[in-house]
C-alpha cells in the first residue's frame, strides 16, 4: 500500500474564487450591482444630487417637457421631476429594503425553527404561515392601514407581515429537505451540536434561494408601495414617491405623457437591477455553479 501524493496529479481546478469576485465576473450580476449601487447612492445623497427642491411649487413653469433646465420636465405644480424622482428613490429603497430585510431575517429564523425544531412547533408555525398567506394582500394592507393610519412605518409593517410566511415556508421546506441529508447525519456522528449544524451546515445551504427571492421581491415591494401610494394609502403628498409621481402622471397622461415615462424608467431600472443582482448572487453563492460560470 503505497500511494504517494504524486499518484493524484490530475489537474486541480483553480481554487474557488470569492463570491464577490465571482459576482463581478458575471456581466449580468455586474450590471445588477451597478444599477443597485447607483440607486442607493441616489437615495443616500438625494439632498446633494437633486438640482431643485422637490416640493418647491412653481406654477408658472408647470407641465414643461424635458429641457436643459429640467432634464425630466416639471409636473402639474411646476415641481422638478428629476429632483422628485431622486428623492423618490429614497422612499422606494428605504421602504423596500428595510421591509424585505426584516421579513427575510424573520422568515429565515422561523423557517429554520419550523424545519429543525420539534414537530408541534412546526405545526404551529405552519398554521401561522398558512393563515397569513390565505389573506388577500391588498385587502389585508387596506385593513392594517385603516387601523394604524397611512405612513411609512405602517407600510413597512404590512409588507413584513405579508412576506414573512412565504420566506418562512421556503426556508422550512429547504430545511426539511436537508435535515435528512447524509452530511447533516454525518455532522451528528462526529458530535456537532444542533446549533452548529443549523448555523454552519444548514444556514449556508438554505440561504441561497432566500437571497434570490429577497432581491427579486424588492421590486415587487417597490411596486406595492407605488400601488398603495397611487391609492393614496402609502406615502402622502407632498413627499415624492415613485408611486405618487406615477399617479400624478397618469392623471395628466394626455397632456404630459413624459411624466409617466420619466417615473417609469427608474422603476424599471431598479427592478431589473435587483433581479439581475439576485441571479448573479445565486450563481456566486453556489459553489456547484462556479465551475460552470468559470467556463
Amino acid at each position: 500500500m503505497s500511494f504517494a501524493a504524486e499518484e493524484i496529479t490530475e489537474e486541480l481546478p483553480p481554487p474557488g474564487r470569492s463570491a464577490l469576485g465571482q459576482l463581478l465576473r458575471d456581466p449580468m450580476g455586474m450590471t445588477g450591482a451597478i444599477l443597485v449601487i447607483t440607486f442607493i447612492i441616489l437615495a443616500i445623497f438625494a439632498p446633494l444630487l437633486a438640482p431643485y427642491d422637490p416640493i418647491h411649487i412653481d406654477v408658472r413653469h408647470k407641465f414643461q417637457p424635458p429641457n436643459l433646465a429640467h432634464w425630466a420636465g416639471t409636473d402639474q405644480l411646476g415641481r422638478d421631476m428629476l429632483s422628485r424622482l431622486i428623492w423618490g428613490a429614497r422612499v422606494a429603497l428605504g421602504i423596500s429594503m428595510t421591509a424585505t430585510g426584516i421579513a427575510g431575517v424573520l422568515g429565515l429564523l422561523l423557517g429554520l425553527v419550523a424545519g429543525f425544531g420539534p414537530r408541534w412547533l412546526d405545526a404551529v408555525l405552519v398554521l401561522f404561515f398558512d393563515s397569513f398567506s390565505s389573506l388577500p394582500m391588498i385587502m389585508f394592507a387596506l385593513a392594517v392601514i385603516t387601523v394604524l393610519g397611512p405612513g411609512i412605518p405602517t407600510l413597512i409593517l404590512v409588507i413584513v407581515l405579508v412576506s414573512v410566511p412565504g420566506y418562512g415556508r421556503l426556508i422550512r421546506a429547504q430545511t426539511l429537505a436537508l435535515k435528512g441529508a447524509d452530511y447533516i447525519q454525518a455532522e451528528r456522528t462526529i458530535g456537532a451540536s444542533s446549533a452548529r449544524i443549523i448555523l454552519r451546515h444548514l444556514l449556508p445551504n438554505v440561504v441561497g434561494p432566500l437571497v434570490i427571492l429577497l432581491s427579486m421581491d424588492i421590486p415587487v415591494v417597490i411596486m406595492l408601495e407605488a400601488g398603495l401610494s397611487y391609492l393614496n394609502l402609502g406615502v402622502g403628498p407632498p413627499t415624492p414617491s415613485w408611486g405618487n409621481i406615477l399617479y400624478d402622471g397618469y392623471t395628466s397622461l394626455r397632456s404630459a405623457p413624459y411624466m409617466v415615462i420619466a417615473a417609469g424608467i427608474p422603476l424599471v431600472l431598479c427592478t431589473l437591477g435587483f433581479t439581475f443582482l439576485g441571479e448573479g448572487l445565486r450563481d456566486a453563492l453556489d459553489p456547484k455553479l462556479k465551475l460552470r460560470a468559470a467556463r
Partner: protein, 326 residues
Amino acid sequence: MTAVFDIEALQVDLPLGGALWPRLIGKAAPRLNILSDITLSIASGESLGLVGESGSGKTTLARAMLGLMPASSGTMRFEGAPLGSRASFTALRRQTALMFQDPVASLSPRMRVGALVTEPFVIHREPMGNRRERARELLETVGLPAAIAERFPHELSGGQARRVCVARALALTPRLVLADEPTAGLDVSVQGEVLNLMSGLRDRLNLSFMIISHNLAMVRHVTDRIAIMYLGRLVESGPTAQVFANPRHPYTASLIAAEPHPDPRRRRDDLAIKGEIPSLLQRPAGCEFHTRCPRATDRCRVEPPALRAIAPGWQARCHLAEPEPT
C-alpha cells in the same frame, strides 16, 4: 481481548406514519420492528464484517449504535460504559467515526475539504495547532495532495471523497470506525487502495472496525469476524475463516454459494436462495428464513429458533445447526 463495543438484545422500532390518531385515542402507535434481539460485541483491534441483503438492517444498526436512531430496548456499552443518555452519545461520538455509504453526500457541500477534515477538532475543542498545517497532515495520511484542501466536495472524484471521509473519520484517532459500504461505487483498484489504507491505519493505531458490506470477497479478505443479518436479526456470527469454510446457517451458506466464482465452468449447486426478502410488516412465523430456506422442516414453520452456540464465539440461529464436535 477486551470489547470496545457491546450490544445486548438491542431492538429498534420505528413508529409507522400517521401516529397522531392512535395517540389521540390513547392507543399505542403501530410500530415497525426494524432490528430485534441483536447481540454483538466488537473487540479492541478487531474488524467485524456485517453482511446481509439490502433492507436487512445493517445501516440501521450502525446508526443505532451512534444514537442516530433511538433504541427501543436492549443495552449498548462502549468500553464498559452504558450508552443511552444524550451526554453518553456525545462522548461516544468523540471516540467513534461513521463512514457513510455515499462519500460525496456525507461532506457538507459549502465547506472546503481543509475545513471538513479539521472540523472534528473544532467541534470537540481539541488542540490542532495550525489548521492549515493539520489539514495537510491529515490529507497526507490518506495519500491526498495538500492542494485538495482548497476544493469543495463536489469537485472530488469518488475515490478522493472516500479518502477525505477516511481522513475525517481518523482525525481524532477514534477507537472504533463504522464503515458503511466503504468500497461501494469505487473501481476495483481504488477499492483495494481504500481497504489497504484502512487496514494499514488499523494496524498502526489499533482501531476496531465494523465494515458493512455486500461484498463477501472483501469481507472475507479484511475482517476477523463476520456477522450475517436477515430481516433485522443476526442469523450467524463467528470467525470469518471458519464461517466461510463451514457456514452453519442455510442463509449464510446460500450467500456464500451465490458469490460469483472466477471459474466459468464451475456449476453452482442450487442452494441459491429463491424469492424476495419478506416484508418487515409481515414477518414469517417460526424461523423467519423458512419461506426461502432449502432445508426448512415443519418445526421451522412453527418454532422460532434461538441462537445456538457452535463453538466459542460462533453462533447460529437455526434449528439444524449442530455444535462443532470438540
